[in-house]
Amino acid sequence: MLAALFADLMDLGGLLLVIPLMLPVVGLLLALLVRGRTLGRFALALLLLGLAAAAVIAAAVATGDQALHYQLGGWAPPLGVALKADGLSAVMLLTTAVVLLGVGIYAQRGFQVPAGLPETRRSLAFWTLLCGIWGGINTVFLGQDLFTLFVALELLTFSAVPLVALDGRSETLAAALRYLLFALLGSVLYLLGAVLFYGTYGTLDIALLADLIAGADTLPPAVPVAAALMTVGLLAKTTLFPLHLWLPPAHAGAPPAASAVLSALVVKGSFFLILRIWFDLMPALLTLTAAQVLGALGAAAILFGNLVALRQTRLKLLIAYSTLAQIGYLFLIFPLAAGSSSVALTAGALQVVAHACAKAAMFMAAGLIAASLGHDQIRELRGSGRTLPLTVLAFGLGGLSLIGLPPSGGYLVKTLISAAAVDTGQWWLYLVVQAGGLLTAAYLFFVLSQAVPGPRQPTPPHERPRLAQQLIVLALALCALLLGLLPLSAVDLLEIGRPAAADSGAVSALLADAWTLDKLWASLWPVLIVAALVLAVRYRQQRKPPRPEGTSATLSPGRALDQLDHLLRQWPVAGLLLLVLVAALVQTMLVGG
Amino acid sequence: MRLALDLFTIVAVTLGAIFFLAGTVGLLRFPDTLTRLHALTKADNLGLGLVVLGLLPQATAPLGWIGLIAVWLLALLSGATVGQLLAEAVRPPEWDQTRTPDAPPVGHPNAPEASSHD
């Protein structure tokens, strides 16, 4: 019977895409009417349905071997609005559904309505806004119209910002306001770009625009300007270094379940649109200089984010800065697209998936640890490994994916990027990837070396986490870790719906020797050395009275780094850098094109 | 007939425009807020009224007329209320007219830290 139902669903074809679009929206609206303890369960049921829908769509895309299309209201673009799910969208939908389901299970406890109350502020806000984020991001993945995507981005932002301020402390309020204003600046720049596209071509549909742009003999001046404005606007929402002014306080200040969603999913929505712009809308316009500007920012993000993460004393801030670094990997793919766009796109998509699972797990693990200890100071984590073995294990496993150790998804990403970098002769990318992995290893092992040893806590924990919470965190971490073991055909799903590239098979060629012993060992031994170094440093620190200023033995460079980070996160400085980026991108496209 | 109506329009609209000018001059030249308020409410209501009157012959009957007159009536109503509201707001208790320009703002009665002391 299930099989029959499944077959019926597959027959729906493009109509299936309406489900991920509307399910969260209906949930958001109905959640306002649901009272009492039902609210959390209602949301959970919805998330389960959503996961099923995402799975069906992925199956339909995979079995049909082509993208699903749907014209809303029966009106064809340019007049109407179209939806499309190619392999990339299907994978993103599925990832979103999995991560959100994990968060939904985790948050059952923290955002439960206490018995006897109709609702509480936190519970209503969290569950409705979670649905809002879900609806926004699904629309981003499916929409084919630049303006519909704008509304979807706003839905995402409006739902994400209040989650940051949910605790109501003044520093989270300030973080939320910064986030909102900077994100609004980003959306308005994006909208300006879309307006210029309409003024030039008279349509907002991505596919139609792509044909018009590709077919034009000379590029109208509006196109590079619009592309630069849209890209930078989206960068501000994705918080690529140096536009990261709001990310650390916002992601670290939100409740753990919200941090997980913000870090794992929300920043990826705007990144997905950058992919759509540069790979679908105007692939020809991605000049090497423009791509290298983006790649250089990504590289800087990896090094800077990881180094600053190493300086953090609070666990959640460390994870937030690690997000900053991991976003950098997403942008390394642009310079590689010159060699093979399918390799670049596969690496980007894998990084999105791997980081989403790993980071959600790590933020929620940090939340459990903080709830149990009553704080999240890294230097005082002693004994949490005994109290919360599963949670600390999940944290570590998630970290392994961030480092890029086999068999994690991160390992595939790093293999792809490194190999493609060597192929295209961009050695600096290779070096950055390796260095980023080692820096990640350093702070991960530092945290673990604080958390694992030590006796069971003498004092009873502040709050005993539920087993279900610990298990779901572990499950998400395992998703990230075992992602690399998926068969290559799963990676092929990403290619569906893309124009058949001349380099098809490039991905499998690069991944083919990823599992040789040589490669595995080559990825492992530097990490082991870092681990040994961290342990040695820690041992030495234990012998001497600990110096309070943190992890780094090199004091003054570290302070300088903090100063630099502080400077970059000043509003006017970030604004100036944003303008510089717009100007630079226009420049590269005008000159390079 | 057309000519007469057009002439009427020209005269009425010109008069209305002059009233706007008068109102502006009053707003700029009168010494304090209350007298400025006086100049403003008189001038702009009459100005708008004359403009509306002048436009009537040019509008399509009867819907256009209703619309124009409704605009004027509403403007009259809100103009009267605004005058009243602003007058209440700026009237100093002792009719003190030597206000310091751009005095620093003070606590809003609604702000939580302004404990009720009146």
Binding site: L33, G73, R121, P162, G168, G202, L576 | -
Partner: protein
């Protein structure tokens, strides 16, 4: 038509002058007053651009309600404004930003001058398919038929925005009444206005929704007017804002979008696509959706201005102090 150009030039100068004032004014309140005037001028500009529907939206929402919001905020924030100027970025930074902003504006201006001629447009396609929707106003046709999904998502976006505003209350305040619009100390004029104006306003609002199918107007313009009237009544102390936990209010908030989705889903069966209307019933269905959306958007706009809820004792205290 040079005289028209003179009017346009005067408008542009006024708009730019006010924009300068809004950017450069010393105190936020003065800037907010400038913004109210600025919105009014933009309304004129929209009329000059032959976009009457947009002009109405700008008048009601862009100038009216936004102005109310900003003026209220400026008043509340005045006590904290004192040392803002010292936090201005340094001269070098400001000059750099200024130069880059000017460059971006110049680049945009160049792009505007170089826009293709004849301009690409969907106007003919919109007009050609309009009879199928039963509507006479092409803008409403775009909003309710061709790009119905944008309108749907937009009406949905308002809900998280409202929840965002509500979530900024304290835990204690939850379930109470919104606290931004406590009744003002009552002279005689305000309650009078709040008694006389709303009948007109409600008439105009409903007229805009109703006429919007064929003439300029529509649910957003109408809803903004209705919300403004509701706010006036609340500010004058004639009605209290409803508590956020009020069930009827919750229902009104979501009825419009839900109705939209429901009719859209029925379209799968009846017209072959989500958000499509069977041609015979297109107009009544669209009017039904518009009616639902008007209710919901009015409620959301009013409540967005009414602010986060406060505990009942605080609400009563505020009201007493101000009356």
């Amino acid at each position: 038509m040079t005289s028209a150009l003179v009017v346009d030039a005067a408008l542009v100068l006024l708009v730019l002058g006010l924009a300068l004032w809004i950017t450069a004014a010393r105190a936020a309140y003065g800037a907010a007053v400038g913004f109210v005037a600025y919105g009014l001028l933009l309304t004129l500009v929209w009329v000059r651009l032959a976009a009457v529907d947009v002009a109405m939206t700008e008048a009601a929402l862009g100038s009216g309600l936004t102005g109310l919001l900003l003026l209220g905020a400026a008043a509340r924030l005045a006590p904290y404004e004192a040392d803002e100027h010292r936090r201005r970025p340094g001269t070098v930074l400001r000059v750099l930003v200024g130069v880059l902003c000017a460059a971006i504006a110049a680049g945009l201006a160049a792009v505007v001058l170089l826009l293709p001629d004849p301009a690409p447009s969907q106007a003919l396609a919109v007009a050609a398919h309009l009879p199928a929707t039963g509507l006479g106003n092409p803008v409403t046709g775009v909003l309710m038929a061709y790009r119905a999904v944008d309108t749907l998502l937009e009406s949905v976006v308002l809900v998280p925005a409202l929840i965002g505003v509500w979530s900024l209350s304290t835990e204690m305040g939850w379930g109470g009444r919104p606290g931004f619009l406590t009744p003002c100390r009552s002279g005689s004029a305000l309650p009078l206005l709040a008694r006389v104006l709303p009948p007109f306003g409600i008439l105009v609002g409903i007229h805009l929704v109703w006429a919007g199918a064929d003439d300029p107007g529509g649910k957003f313009q109408g809803a903004a007017v209705l919300a403004a009237m509701w706010i006036l009544v609340m500010v004058a102390g004639l009605r209290e804002p409803p508590p956020v936990s009020d069930r009827l209010m919750r229902f009104l908030l979501v009825v419009g979008p839900l109705c939209f989705i429901g009719i859209g889903a029925a379209g799968i069966r009846l017209a072959g696509a989500f958000l499509a209307y069977p041609e015979a019933y297109a107009k009544p269905l669209i009017l039904a959706i518009e009616a639902g959306l008007t209710i919901s958007v009015t409620a959301v706009l009013g409540l967005l201005l009414a602010g986060p809820p406060v505990p009942e004792p605080q609400y009563q205290r505020q009201s007493r102090r101000r009356s």
